[in-house]
Protein backbone atom coordinates (compact mmCIF):
# COMPACT_ATOMS: atom_id res chain seq x y z
CA UNK A 1 0.00 0.00 0.00
CA UNK A 2 2.87 2.40 0.67
CA UNK A 3 4.04 2.15 -2.91
CA UNK A 4 0.47 2.67 -3.94
CA UNK A 5 0.27 5.82 -1.86
CA UNK A 6 3.49 7.13 -3.30
CA UNK A 7 2.21 6.48 -6.77
CA UNK A 8 -0.98 8.38 -6.12
CA UNK A 9 0.92 11.26 -4.59
CA UNK A 10 3.08 11.45 -7.64
CA UNK A 11 -0.01 11.39 -9.81
CA UNK A 12 -1.40 14.25 -7.81
CA UNK A 13 1.73 16.23 -8.28
CA UNK A 14 2.22 15.62 -11.95
CA UNK A 15 -1.31 14.98 -13.19
CA UNK A 16 0.22 12.51 -15.69
CA UNK A 17 -0.44 8.84 -16.31
CA UNK A 18 0.98 6.87 -13.46
CA UNK A 19 4.11 4.86 -13.97
CA UNK A 20 5.43 2.98 -10.95
CA UNK A 21 8.95 3.23 -12.27
CA UNK A 22 8.75 6.91 -12.83
CA UNK A 23 11.92 8.53 -11.59
CA UNK A 24 11.36 12.24 -12.05
CA UNK A 25 8.63 14.48 -10.71
CA UNK A 26 7.54 17.61 -12.50
CA UNK A 27 6.38 20.81 -10.84
CA UNK A 28 2.92 20.86 -9.38
CA UNK A 29 0.09 22.08 -11.59
CA UNK A 30 -2.01 24.23 -9.36
CA UNK A 31 -4.61 25.74 -11.62
CA UNK A 32 -7.25 22.96 -11.62
CA UNK A 33 -6.65 21.80 -8.10
CA UNK A 34 -10.07 22.94 -6.88
CA UNK A 35 -11.92 20.41 -8.99
CA UNK A 36 -9.65 17.47 -8.35
CA UNK A 37 -10.70 14.56 -6.20
CA UNK A 38 -7.24 13.04 -6.01
CA UNK A 39 -6.12 14.90 -2.88
CA UNK A 40 -9.08 13.57 -0.91
CA UNK A 41 -8.57 10.06 -2.23
CA UNK A 42 -4.91 10.35 -1.30
CA UNK A 43 -5.87 11.40 2.22
CA UNK A 44 -8.26 8.44 2.49
CA UNK A 45 -5.57 6.04 1.43
CA UNK A 46 -3.12 7.60 3.87
CA UNK A 47 -5.61 7.17 6.69
CA UNK A 48 -6.16 3.58 5.65
CA UNK A 49 -2.42 3.07 5.68
CA UNK A 50 -2.13 4.37 9.19
CA UNK A 51 -5.37 2.78 10.35
CA UNK A 52 -6.40 6.25 11.40
CA UNK A 53 -9.87 6.82 12.85
CA UNK A 54 -10.22 9.85 10.53
CA UNK A 55 -10.89 7.60 7.58
CA UNK A 56 -14.63 7.98 8.14
CA UNK A 57 -14.25 11.71 8.07
CA UNK A 58 -12.28 11.58 4.86
CA UNK A 59 -14.81 9.25 3.27
CA UNK A 60 -17.56 11.68 4.19
CA UNK A 61 -15.54 14.53 2.71
CA UNK A 62 -15.21 12.67 -0.55
CA UNK A 63 -18.89 11.87 -0.63
CA UNK A 64 -19.80 15.47 0.17
CA UNK A 65 -17.43 16.83 -2.45
CA UNK A 66 -18.92 14.56 -5.09
CA UNK A 67 -22.41 15.64 -4.13
CA UNK A 68 -21.45 19.32 -4.16
CA UNK A 69 -19.84 18.88 -7.55
CA UNK A 70 -23.08 17.38 -8.89
CA UNK A 71 -25.10 20.29 -7.52
CA UNK A 72 -22.63 22.79 -8.88
CA UNK A 73 -22.74 21.17 -12.31
CA UNK A 74 -26.55 21.30 -12.31
CA UNK A 75 -26.43 25.03 -11.60
CA UNK A 76 -23.79 25.99 -14.14
CA UNK A 77 -25.13 28.25 -16.90
CA UNK A 78 -24.60 27.43 -20.54
CA UNK A 79 -23.56 23.79 -20.10
CA UNK A 80 -26.76 22.39 -21.61
CA UNK A 81 -25.07 22.40 -24.97
CA UNK A 82 -21.67 21.48 -26.29
CA UNK A 83 -18.98 24.10 -26.70
CA UNK A 84 -19.14 23.91 -30.49
CA UNK A 85 -22.92 24.42 -30.50
CA UNK A 86 -22.60 27.32 -28.10
CA UNK A 87 -19.97 28.97 -30.22
CA UNK A 88 -22.11 28.62 -33.33
CA UNK A 89 -25.06 30.19 -31.45
CA UNK A 90 -22.84 33.03 -30.28
CA UNK A 91 -21.68 33.60 -33.84
CA UNK A 92 -25.27 33.60 -35.03
CA UNK A 93 -26.31 36.13 -32.37
CA UNK A 94 -23.45 38.43 -33.26
CA UNK A 95 -24.45 38.29 -36.92
CA UNK A 96 -28.06 39.02 -36.00
CA UNK A 97 -27.10 42.07 -33.99
CA UNK A 98 -24.88 43.32 -36.78
CA UNK A 99 -27.58 42.79 -39.42
CA UNK A 100 -30.23 44.54 -37.35
CA UNK A 101 -27.92 47.46 -36.64
CA UNK A 102 -27.19 47.83 -40.33
CA UNK A 103 -30.90 47.63 -41.17
CA UNK A 104 -31.81 50.31 -38.66
CA UNK A 105 -29.00 52.54 -39.84
CA UNK A 106 -30.10 52.09 -43.43
CA UNK A 107 -33.74 52.96 -42.80
CA UNK A 108 -32.97 55.90 -40.55
CA UNK A 109 -30.76 57.50 -43.16
CA UNK A 110 -32.97 56.57 -46.11
CA UNK A 111 -34.50 59.38 -48.16
CA UNK A 112 -38.19 58.62 -47.99
CA UNK A 113 -39.27 60.99 -50.70
CA UNK A 114 -38.18 59.95 -54.12
CA UNK A 115 -39.21 62.77 -56.40
CA UNK A 116 -40.33 61.17 -59.67
CA UNK A 117 -38.94 62.64 -62.84
CA UNK A 118 -41.53 64.45 -64.91
CA UNK A 119 -42.53 62.31 -67.87
Amino acid sequence: MTLFTHGLRRALMTQQPLDVNMATAEPVVEEAEDYSFLPIIHDIIKCMDRDSPDVHQELNKLKTKIQEAREQISGLPGVDMSLALQESKLRMLREQVQTKNQLLQKYKSLCMFDIPKPS
Binding site: L18, A32, L38, I45, V55, L76, D80, L93, Q96, Y107
Partner: protein, 300 residues
Protein backbone atom coordinates in the same frame (compact mmCIF):
# COMPACT_ATOMS: atom_id res chain seq x y z
CA UNK B 1 -23.59 5.97 -3.71
CA UNK B 2 -26.59 4.28 -2.17
CA UNK B 3 -26.87 3.45 1.50
CA UNK B 4 -26.10 -0.24 1.08
CA UNK B 5 -22.97 0.46 -0.91
CA UNK B 6 -21.91 3.00 1.66
CA UNK B 7 -22.21 0.54 4.51
CA UNK B 8 -20.36 -2.11 2.55
CA UNK B 9 -17.69 0.34 1.59
CA UNK B 10 -17.10 1.36 5.20
CA UNK B 11 -17.15 -2.24 6.26
CA UNK B 12 -14.51 -3.07 3.69
CA UNK B 13 -12.36 -0.19 4.80
CA UNK B 14 -12.41 -1.54 8.31
CA UNK B 15 -12.00 -5.09 7.15
CA UNK B 16 -8.72 -5.69 8.89
CA UNK B 17 -8.36 -8.86 10.85
CA UNK B 18 -12.08 -9.37 11.49
CA UNK B 19 -14.90 -11.73 10.72
CA UNK B 20 -15.93 -9.53 7.82
CA UNK B 21 -12.92 -10.71 5.93
CA UNK B 22 -14.66 -13.70 4.39
CA UNK B 23 -17.71 -11.64 3.76
CA UNK B 24 -15.65 -9.05 1.99
CA UNK B 25 -13.87 -11.68 -0.03
CA UNK B 26 -17.18 -13.15 -1.20
CA UNK B 27 -18.58 -9.80 -2.03
CA UNK B 28 -15.43 -8.68 -3.78
CA UNK B 29 -15.41 -11.73 -6.02
CA UNK B 30 -19.09 -11.31 -6.77
CA UNK B 31 -18.59 -7.75 -7.70
CA UNK B 32 -15.39 -8.38 -9.58
CA UNK B 33 -17.25 -9.09 -12.78
CA UNK B 34 -19.26 -5.89 -12.57
CA UNK B 35 -16.10 -3.93 -11.89
CA UNK B 36 -14.39 -5.46 -14.88
CA UNK B 37 -17.31 -4.61 -17.05
CA UNK B 38 -17.30 -1.04 -15.69
CA UNK B 39 -13.60 -0.65 -16.39
CA UNK B 40 -14.06 -1.98 -19.90
CA UNK B 41 -16.85 0.49 -20.45
CA UNK B 42 -14.76 3.32 -19.09
CA UNK B 43 -11.85 2.50 -21.38
CA UNK B 44 -14.22 2.34 -24.31
CA UNK B 45 -15.86 5.59 -23.39
CA UNK B 46 -12.50 7.32 -23.28
CA UNK B 47 -11.98 6.55 -26.92
CA UNK B 48 -15.45 7.38 -28.04
CA UNK B 49 -16.00 10.43 -25.85
CA UNK B 50 -13.99 12.64 -28.14
CA UNK B 51 -16.18 11.82 -31.09
CA UNK B 52 -19.54 12.50 -29.41
CA UNK B 53 -20.91 16.04 -29.18
CA UNK B 54 -22.68 15.55 -25.91
CA UNK B 55 -23.61 18.60 -23.86
CA UNK B 56 -20.91 19.59 -21.43
CA UNK B 57 -23.26 18.96 -18.51
CA UNK B 58 -23.72 15.32 -19.50
CA UNK B 59 -20.00 14.89 -19.95
CA UNK B 60 -19.34 16.38 -16.52
CA UNK B 61 -21.90 14.20 -14.78
CA UNK B 62 -20.68 11.12 -16.60
CA UNK B 63 -17.08 11.84 -15.65
CA UNK B 64 -18.09 12.48 -12.07
CA UNK B 65 -19.90 9.16 -11.94
CA UNK B 66 -16.85 7.45 -13.31
CA UNK B 67 -14.64 9.10 -10.70
CA UNK B 68 -17.01 7.96 -8.00
CA UNK B 69 -17.04 4.38 -9.24
CA UNK B 70 -13.30 4.28 -9.71
CA UNK B 71 -12.55 5.78 -6.33
CA UNK B 72 -14.91 3.32 -4.72
CA UNK B 73 -13.28 0.42 -6.48
CA UNK B 74 -9.85 1.66 -5.57
CA UNK B 75 -10.71 1.97 -1.91
CA UNK B 76 -12.41 -1.43 -1.89
CA UNK B 77 -9.36 -2.93 -3.49
CA UNK B 78 -7.09 -1.31 -0.94
CA UNK B 79 -9.29 -2.56 1.86
CA UNK B 80 -9.18 -6.08 0.48
CA UNK B 81 -5.47 -5.93 -0.12
CA UNK B 82 -4.96 -5.38 3.59
CA UNK B 83 -6.39 -8.77 4.28
CA UNK B 84 -5.61 -10.76 1.17
CA UNK B 85 -3.64 -10.62 -1.98
CA UNK B 86 -5.08 -8.80 -4.94
CA UNK B 87 -6.58 -11.20 -7.51
CA UNK B 88 -4.81 -9.33 -10.29
CA UNK B 89 -1.71 -7.36 -9.44
CA UNK B 90 -1.99 -4.95 -12.37
CA UNK B 91 -5.57 -4.12 -11.65
CA UNK B 92 -4.84 -1.44 -9.06
CA UNK B 93 -2.57 0.34 -11.50
CA UNK B 94 -5.24 0.26 -14.14
CA UNK B 95 -7.79 1.68 -11.77
CA UNK B 96 -5.41 4.35 -10.63
CA UNK B 97 -4.54 5.32 -14.16
CA UNK B 98 -8.17 5.54 -15.10
CA UNK B 99 -8.94 7.54 -11.97
CA UNK B 100 -6.18 10.02 -12.68
CA UNK B 101 -7.27 10.28 -16.28
CA UNK B 102 -10.87 10.85 -15.32
CA UNK B 103 -9.88 13.41 -12.75
CA UNK B 104 -7.88 15.29 -15.35
CA UNK B 105 -10.80 15.14 -17.78
CA UNK B 106 -13.10 16.41 -15.09
CA UNK B 107 -10.87 19.38 -14.42
CA UNK B 108 -10.66 20.19 -18.12
CA UNK B 109 -14.40 19.89 -18.46
CA UNK B 110 -14.89 22.21 -15.50
CA UNK B 111 -12.65 24.78 -17.14
CA UNK B 112 -14.68 24.37 -20.32
CA UNK B 113 -17.87 24.76 -18.30
CA UNK B 114 -16.61 27.97 -16.72
CA UNK B 115 -15.68 29.28 -20.16
CA UNK B 116 -19.12 28.33 -21.42
CA UNK B 117 -20.59 30.23 -18.50
CA UNK B 118 -18.77 33.36 -19.61
CA UNK B 119 -19.91 32.80 -23.18
CA UNK B 120 -23.47 32.31 -21.92
CA UNK B 121 -23.34 35.71 -20.23
CA UNK B 122 -22.19 37.28 -23.46
CA UNK B 123 -24.97 35.48 -25.31
CA UNK B 124 -27.54 36.80 -22.85
CA UNK B 125 -26.26 40.34 -23.39
CA UNK B 126 -26.45 39.83 -27.14
CA UNK B 127 -29.99 38.43 -26.86
CA UNK B 128 -31.04 41.54 -24.94
CA UNK B 129 -29.51 43.69 -27.62
CA UNK B 130 -31.32 41.69 -30.30
CA UNK B 131 -34.61 42.23 -28.46
CA UNK B 132 -33.92 45.96 -28.23
CA UNK B 133 -33.16 46.14 -31.92
CA UNK B 134 -36.32 44.18 -32.68
CA UNK B 135 -38.41 46.66 -30.71
CA UNK B 136 -36.66 49.56 -32.49
CA UNK B 137 -37.43 47.98 -35.85
CA UNK B 138 -41.05 47.42 -34.88
CA UNK B 139 -41.40 51.03 -33.78
CA UNK B 140 -39.82 52.23 -36.99
CA UNK B 141 -42.17 49.99 -38.91
CA UNK B 142 -45.19 51.49 -37.13
CA UNK B 143 -44.01 55.01 -37.85
CA UNK B 144 -43.37 54.20 -41.49
CA UNK B 145 -46.81 52.63 -41.75
CA UNK B 146 -48.39 55.72 -40.25
CA UNK B 147 -46.44 58.00 -42.56
CA UNK B 148 -47.40 55.88 -45.52
CA UNK B 149 -51.07 56.10 -44.54
CA UNK B 150 -50.92 59.87 -44.17
CA UNK B 151 -49.11 60.31 -47.44
CA UNK B 152 -51.46 57.97 -49.25
CA UNK B 153 -54.45 59.97 -48.00
CA UNK B 154 -52.81 63.24 -49.01
CA UNK B 155 -51.94 61.91 -52.46
CA UNK B 156 -55.48 60.60 -52.95
CA UNK B 157 -57.01 63.93 -51.98
CA UNK B 158 -54.58 65.79 -54.19
CA UNK B 159 -55.49 63.53 -57.12
CA UNK B 160 -59.19 64.13 -56.48
CA UNK B 161 -58.53 67.85 -56.38
CA UNK B 162 -56.66 67.66 -59.65
CA UNK B 163 -59.54 65.73 -61.21
CA UNK B 164 -62.05 68.34 -60.11
CA UNK B 165 -59.75 71.09 -61.40
CA UNK B 166 -59.50 69.35 -64.74
CA UNK B 167 -63.23 68.84 -64.82
CA UNK B 168 -63.83 72.51 -64.03
CA UNK B 169 -61.35 73.54 -66.68
CA UNK B 170 -63.21 71.49 -69.31
CA UNK B 171 -66.61 72.94 -68.45
CA UNK B 172 -65.44 76.44 -67.81
CA UNK B 173 -67.71 79.43 -68.18
CA UNK B 174 -66.42 82.90 -68.77
CA UNK B 175 -66.47 85.15 -65.78
CA UNK B 176 -68.43 87.77 -67.66
CA UNK B 177 -71.36 85.42 -68.20
CA UNK B 178 -71.35 84.43 -64.59
CA UNK B 179 -71.32 88.04 -63.50
CA UNK B 180 -74.12 88.89 -65.90
CA UNK B 181 -76.19 86.00 -64.62
CA UNK B 182 -75.52 86.95 -61.05
CA UNK B 183 -76.54 90.49 -61.84
CA UNK B 184 -79.76 89.41 -63.43
CA UNK B 185 -80.65 87.18 -60.53
CA UNK B 186 -79.95 89.85 -58.03
CA UNK B 187 -81.62 92.52 -60.17
CA UNK B 188 -84.94 90.71 -60.02
CA UNK B 189 -84.88 90.98 -56.24
CA UNK B 190 -84.81 87.22 -55.90
CA UNK B 191 -81.88 87.17 -53.48
CA UNK B 192 -82.43 90.37 -51.62
CA UNK B 193 -85.37 92.61 -50.92
CA UNK B 194 -85.54 95.87 -52.82
CA UNK B 195 -84.07 98.85 -51.07
CA UNK B 196 -87.47 100.47 -50.61
CA UNK B 197 -89.24 97.33 -49.48
CA UNK B 198 -91.18 97.75 -46.28
CA UNK B 199 -93.36 95.33 -44.39
CA UNK B 200 -96.69 95.28 -46.13
CA UNK B 201 -95.22 95.39 -49.58
CA UNK B 202 -96.85 92.55 -51.53
CA UNK B 203 -93.71 91.95 -53.53
CA UNK B 204 -92.14 88.61 -52.89
CA UNK B 205 -89.11 86.77 -54.17
CA UNK B 206 -91.42 84.17 -55.67
CA UNK B 207 -94.42 84.42 -58.01
CA UNK B 208 -97.50 85.52 -56.18
CA UNK B 209 -101.09 84.41 -56.85
CA UNK B 210 -101.78 87.40 -59.00
CA UNK B 211 -98.83 86.77 -61.19
CA UNK B 212 -99.65 83.10 -61.56
CA UNK B 213 -103.22 83.79 -62.49
CA UNK B 214 -102.16 86.33 -65.02
CA UNK B 215 -99.59 84.09 -66.49
CA UNK B 216 -99.81 81.38 -69.12
CA UNK B 217 -100.84 78.65 -66.76
CA UNK B 218 -103.55 80.71 -65.23
CA UNK B 219 -105.04 81.67 -68.59
CA UNK B 220 -104.56 78.28 -70.21
CA UNK B 221 -108.24 77.52 -70.58
CA UNK B 222 -109.10 80.91 -72.05
CA UNK B 223 -106.32 81.51 -74.45
CA UNK B 224 -105.77 79.90 -77.90
CA UNK B 225 -102.76 77.69 -78.28
CA UNK B 226 -100.87 80.00 -80.65
CA UNK B 227 -101.69 83.15 -78.79
CA UNK B 228 -102.35 86.61 -80.31
CA UNK B 229 -99.93 87.90 -82.88
CA UNK B 230 -97.63 85.17 -81.98
CA UNK B 231 -97.42 86.46 -78.53
CA UNK B 232 -98.94 84.88 -75.50
CA UNK B 233 -100.42 86.90 -72.73
CA UNK B 234 -97.56 85.79 -70.63
CA UNK B 235 -95.32 87.77 -72.87
CA UNK B 236 -96.89 90.97 -71.61
CA UNK B 237 -96.09 89.85 -68.13
CA UNK B 238 -92.72 88.66 -69.20
CA UNK B 239 -92.15 91.99 -70.78
CA UNK B 240 -92.70 93.53 -67.44
CA UNK B 241 -96.15 95.06 -67.84
CA UNK B 242 -99.27 93.97 -66.00
CA UNK B 243 -102.78 94.92 -67.05
CA UNK B 244 -103.96 98.01 -65.15
CA UNK B 245 -106.56 96.02 -63.35
CA UNK B 246 -103.96 93.81 -61.83
CA UNK B 247 -101.58 96.58 -60.95
CA UNK B 248 -101.61 97.02 -57.24
CA UNK B 249 -101.93 100.56 -55.98
CA UNK B 250 -99.72 101.34 -53.07
CA UNK B 251 -98.50 104.59 -51.74
CA UNK B 252 -94.89 103.70 -52.25
CA UNK B 253 -95.47 103.11 -55.93
CA UNK B 254 -94.48 105.82 -58.34
CA UNK B 255 -95.20 106.23 -62.04
CA UNK B 256 -92.02 104.46 -62.83
CA UNK B 257 -93.06 101.57 -60.71
CA UNK B 258 -96.25 101.03 -62.63
CA UNK B 259 -94.29 100.89 -65.78
CA UNK B 260 -91.36 98.91 -64.79
CA UNK B 261 -91.53 97.51 -61.31
CA UNK B 262 -93.38 94.29 -61.09
CA UNK B 263 -93.37 91.35 -58.77
CA UNK B 264 -90.33 89.37 -59.59
CA UNK B 265 -90.62 86.45 -61.90
CA UNK B 266 -88.56 83.42 -62.27
CA UNK B 267 -87.41 83.49 -65.79
CA UNK B 268 -84.35 81.58 -66.78
CA UNK B 269 -84.07 83.25 -70.12
CA UNK B 270 -81.25 85.73 -70.30
CA UNK B 271 -83.01 87.49 -73.09
CA UNK B 272 -85.91 88.63 -70.90
CA UNK B 273 -85.98 92.02 -69.36
CA UNK B 274 -86.00 91.58 -65.59
CA UNK B 275 -88.41 93.56 -63.39
CA UNK B 276 -86.82 96.40 -61.60
CA UNK B 277 -84.89 97.05 -64.69
CA UNK B 278 -84.11 100.70 -64.97
CA UNK B 279 -81.54 102.84 -66.53
CA UNK B 280 -79.28 102.66 -63.49
CA UNK B 281 -79.20 98.90 -63.58
CA UNK B 282 -78.68 99.02 -67.28
CA UNK B 283 -75.67 101.22 -66.82
CA UNK B 284 -74.33 98.88 -64.19
CA UNK B 285 -74.73 95.92 -66.44
CA UNK B 286 -73.15 97.74 -69.31
CA UNK B 287 -70.25 98.69 -67.11
CA UNK B 288 -69.84 95.19 -65.83
CA UNK B 289 -70.25 93.52 -69.14
CA UNK B 290 -67.82 94.21 -71.84
CA UNK B 291 -69.26 91.64 -74.17
CA UNK B 292 -70.92 93.15 -77.23
CA UNK B 293 -73.44 90.39 -77.33
CA UNK B 294 -74.80 91.39 -73.98
CA UNK B 295 -78.53 91.06 -73.77
CA UNK B 296 -78.92 93.67 -71.10
CA UNK B 297 -80.02 96.28 -73.56
CA UNK B 298 -82.66 93.97 -75.09
CA UNK B 299 -86.14 94.90 -74.26
CA UNK B 300 -89.58 94.05 -75.56
Amino acid sequence: MNTTDDILWRAMVYCGPSANRRHCRTLSSARYCSRTRTRTRLRGETVMAAAAEKPTKDKLLSTLDDIEVLSRELIEMLALSRTQKLPQPGEDTDILELLVQRDREFQELMQTALEQGRVQQEMQALEKEVEKRDSDIQQLQKQLKEAEHILATAVYQAKEKLKSIEKARKGSISSEEIIKYAHRISASNAVCAPLNWVPGDPRRPYPTDLEMRSGILGNMSNMPTNGVNGHLPGDALAAGRLPDILTPQYPWQSADVSMGILPPHHGNDFGLEPPGHNKENEDDVEAMSTDSSSSSSDSD
